[in-house]
């Protein structure tokens, strides 16, 4: 009997301990009056959306902008479509936001989701990330023109790689670049890698001829001279050793400006006042020195748009993605 009781006591203690650990680990149930909010992240911890979303949440929490706690939830799956579904289902929920960007626009098409990003409530674009054209240090491609020339001679002969699957930013960029220089995008050889890490490995090991990806992830390799940047995709040159030398595509005579961007969204059907309130919060966050520090630490470009301007930008983006995917017969 005694033995039985100790056992039961032990079980209770274990159960209580786990419950306690759960409560502290996963956040507390929120009451109806609280200002606590949730930020949905459409990919895994450590990814681009995760870094941007968590950085924004950290700044808002530290500066006490929302007047409550801010919980981050990673909703992984289908390139962000699963998180988007969650956001759309949370119609009218005024305490949820989601981080999204160009990659999610593409995924919503790839996975044939019945909605677009601007069907939710766009709050603000937070950052911009330029894409770069990267080659190993001893590559025969010395300038972007060399690459264009090789493409025009035989598009399939150049093995290109990127850190995203078809429809993602690193895939859309070379495809749009090809179109801009009159090369048939369908004829390119494109090898998808699982993010920037494996792509860097492939470039350093000279497995691919040219890589397309966000410049920020390659700063170390570029400043040490192991990789060379042929061009950047935005409308201004970037700063940094081994980076500032690279021209923009426009400077190199190619009519293309392409940027990867990330921003925050609220569910559809929230009130006008709440939308303005959320925009206000993000604007307040954007003004803090902590956010400026986060931008600098991560190498993000400060490209901030809110409200209608952001909505209009989204519609343009959506159209461009759709056109590219159509050209590739991916729609």
């Amino acid at each position: 009997m005694v033995r039985q009781r100790t056992r039961r006591t032990f079980a209770t203690v274990v159960a209580l301990a786990s419950a306690l650990a759960l409560a502290t680990g996963c956040g507390v149930t929120r009451g109806p009056q609280s200002n606590n909010m949730t930020m949905l992240i459409p990919n895994s911890p450590g990814g681009g959306y995760d870094q941007t979303g968590r950085a924004a949440v950290a700044v808002m929490e530290n500066a006490d902008i929302t007047g409550g706690s801010f919980e981050v939830t990673n909703v992984i799956g289908a390139g962000g479509s699963v998180a988007m579904t969650r956001l759309m289902n949370a119609e009218g929920d005024e305490r949820t936001m989601m981080t999204a960007g160009l990659g999610v626009v593409g995924s919503l098409y790839s996975f044939a989701a019945p909605y677009k990003l601007d069907d939710a409530t766009p709050i603000a674009q937070l950052i911009e990330d330029q894409e770069g054209v990267l080659v190993p240090a001893d590559s025969p491609f010395k300038t972007i023109d060399d690459l264009v020339q090789a493409w025009q001679d035989d598009p399939g002969a150049v093995v290109a790689g990127g850190g995203s699957s078809p429809g993602g930013p690193d895939h859309l960029f070379p495809m749009q670049l090809a179109t801009a220089v009159d090369v048939e995008p369908r004829e390119l050889t494109y090898v998808p890698y699982d993010g920037g890490g494996p792509l860097t490995t492939a470039l350093l090991g000279k497995k691919i001829d040219v890589g397309f990806s966000g410049v920020g992830e390659f700063e170390g390799q570029l400043s040490s001279g192991e990789l060379r940047l042929l061009a950047v995709s935005g409308d201004e040159r970037l700063k940094g050793e081994g980076i500032s030398e690279a021209p923009t595509l426009t400077e190199a005579g190619i009519d293309l400006v392409f940027t990867n961007w990330r921003g925050v969204f609220a569910p559809p059907g929230i009130s006008e006042e709440r939308r303005d309130e959320l925009i206000g919060m993000v604007e307040e966050m954007h003004e803090t020195p902590e956010w400026q520090q986060a931008l600098e630490d991560n190498g993000w470009i400060d490209e901030f748009k809110t409200g209608d301007e952001f909505t209009q930008f989204l519609q343009e983006q959506d159209e461009r993605v759709a056109t590219t995917l159509e050209e590739l017969d991916l729609l």
Partner: protein
């Protein structure tokens, strides 16, 4: 200055009573969060990282190192006790670990896991200290063809765990390969076997498959037999490892480390393949030595994979520190953390910020020691958990399995998936299909496909590219030996099977035969 001296300086900076306290708190937090179902090391580190903000860099490092190792170890605890691995790298640990636990040897399983993790982590970290830059430059030359060859080798090895009936084994393997196909095809952006369900469009998480097949399937199986089988109480068992446990563990610890570290250091190596190779190796060695407890709870089957898992985790610091490459989800989180502490990993890290790097490496070693010190005494306590009466115990396992599958993604659909896989697990047990080949199919299938298609895309469809890398060729030679040699040995020495039955008289001949076999297997 030489690396050893620099490491000592690192220890000098790190070793203060206050820092040790931070390390201890980190280890405890990491272990407790890592034990929670559905929270693998990546999630544990991401969740607990904010705790280290606001500390000075050195204190933050050491606490972080504790969290990291604690999180890694916590995952194997649930694998052993509840048959619910928290991440794909502890799937192999669950196999023999849970069998040991149910035979009343949970404390020994946990202890061998803790000591194995410690030894592998320490050796691995020391290897990082001395060889990171050299290893990193070699590792990037290894491409898709070599990885594909490794997958071929692993696939061949799977055949040795198919169980008594090859047909049933292959059915299970192909079921696993099919489950591995579900989701988006990375190369073309098409979805496969997803039945227009957006939630199936991503891949099915190996952890959900393992928890469904192992934990849920087992619980349903037990429930189906509750009335027929008498309730057997799990024996209490000894609280500590015996001398023979130690003697049986040290070989697997070292071999596991030898498998795990290179795979971790390879940019696309991962921890699944080395844990699996370690498991197979130990099984073969045990079978050859004649005390094969595999299938009934062999301590070698826990010691080896756990060491491989941790050595691989230490190995991921090679590409992370030397190249700035995060190769796993956990190391991506760590990269972000390091950047937060003002460390910019990359080719020049070792020369630009030596104090910080050596302090970090010293912290990792100290975190590892504390993990052992704090968790070894906890092993007998954890083991007592299994004393809970069977209905409540299985209810608890079901609860944790469900919670874990749900917590990973807060998605009710995953519960449905878990249930479906649990039913599959029940049916497999009913019809005598082994579950291990299925899990291996789910793990290996997608890896193998990705590498094959990458190799083909790089060579624009030229098949000869598959044997274009020296390492790949070496592996194919090993594959050929593994396949051909046993056949030849069997053909040449038909008598080799007989002596085991004879009580005496041919001892010398038998020893010679064994030696021959050993040489052949090398």
């Amino acid at each position: 200055m030489d690396n050893l001296g620099l490491l000592m300086d690192g220890f000098g900076a790190v070793l203060t009573p206050e820092n040790l306290l931070y390390a201890a708190i980190g280890v405890l937090l990491g272990t407790f969060v890592g034990v929670l179902p559905g929270i693998g090391p990546a999630m544990a580190v991401a969740l607990l990282l904010p705790v280290t903000y606001g500390l000075d860099p050195i204190a933050a490092f050491i606490m972080f190192a504790g969290i990291y190792y604690g999180g890694m170890y916590g995952g194997s605890t649930t694998a052993i006790l509840l048959n619910t691995p928290g991440e794909s790298a502890s799937v192999m640990t669950a196999l023999e670990g849970n069998l040991m636990a149910r035979a009343g040897r949970a404390a020994q399983a946990l202890a061998t896991a803790a000591i194995g993790s410690f030894i592998a982590g320490t050796i691995g970290t020391l290897l990082v200290v001395f060889f990171a830059p050299a290893l990193a430059s070699v590792a990037v030359d290894i491409g898709a063809p070599s990885y594909f060859a490794l997958m071929v080798l692993a696939m061949i090895m799977v055949t040795s765990v198919l169980g008594g009936s090859a047909l049933r084994g292959f059915i299970a393997l192909f079921l696993g390969l099919t489950i591995g196909l579900v989701g988006l095809d990375l190369n073309t952006g098409q979805t496969r076997l997803s039945f227009d369900q957006p939630l199936l469009a991503g891949r099915i998480d190996v952890v959900v498959v393992a928890v469904g097949i192992f934990a849920l399937g087992e619980a349903l199986w037990v429930a189906a037999h509750l009335r027929r089988n008498p309730a057997h109480v799990i024996p209490v068992g000894r609280p500590w490892m015996s001398g023979s446990d130690l003697k049986r563990s040290w070989g697997p610890w070292l071999r596991g480390t030898a498998y795990g570290f290179p795979f971790g250091a390879l940019p696309a190596g991962g921890a699944e393949i080395p844990t699996f190779l370690s498991y197979i190796t130990e099984k073969r060695i045990a079978a050859r030595k004649g005390h094969d407890e595999f299938g009934r709870g062999a301590i070698e089957g826990v010691a080896g994979p756990e060491a491989a898992n941790n050595a691989s985790a230490a190995g991921t610091f090679v590409p992370l520190l030397a190249l700035g490459l995060p190769v796993t989800a956990t190391s991506a989180v760590m990269l972000a953390a390091l950047q937060g502490y003002g460390i910019e990993p990359g080719p020049s890290l070792m020369t630009d910020q030596p104090e910080l790097v050596w302090a970090l490496l010293a912290s990792l070693l100290i975190g590892n020691v504390l993990l052992l010190v704090l968790n070894l005494p906890l092993a007998p306590l954890w083991a007592k958990l299994l004393q809970i009466p069977r209905p409540q115990l299985y209810a608890g396992i079901l609860f944790f399995a469900a919670l874990g599958s749900y917590a990973a993604n807060i998605q009710a659909f995953d519960l449905f998936l878990l249930l479906l896989l649990g039913l599959l697990g029940l049916l497999m047990r009913r019809f005598g299909l082994p579950v291990l080949p299925l899990i291996l199919g789910v793990i290996l299938g997608p890896l193998m496909e990705t590498k094959l298609r990458e190799a083909m895309a790089l060579s624009r469809g030229e098949v000869s590219a598959l044997w274009s890398e020296p390492l790949g060729v070496v592996i194919y030679v090993v594959v050929a030996l593994v396949v051909v040699v046993p056949i030849v040995v069997r053909a040449v020495r038909p008598a080799a099977v007989v002596p085991a039955v004879e009580p005496s008289g041919r001892v010398e001949g038998e020893a010679a035969d064994n030696q021959g076999n050993e040489e052949a297997l090398r």
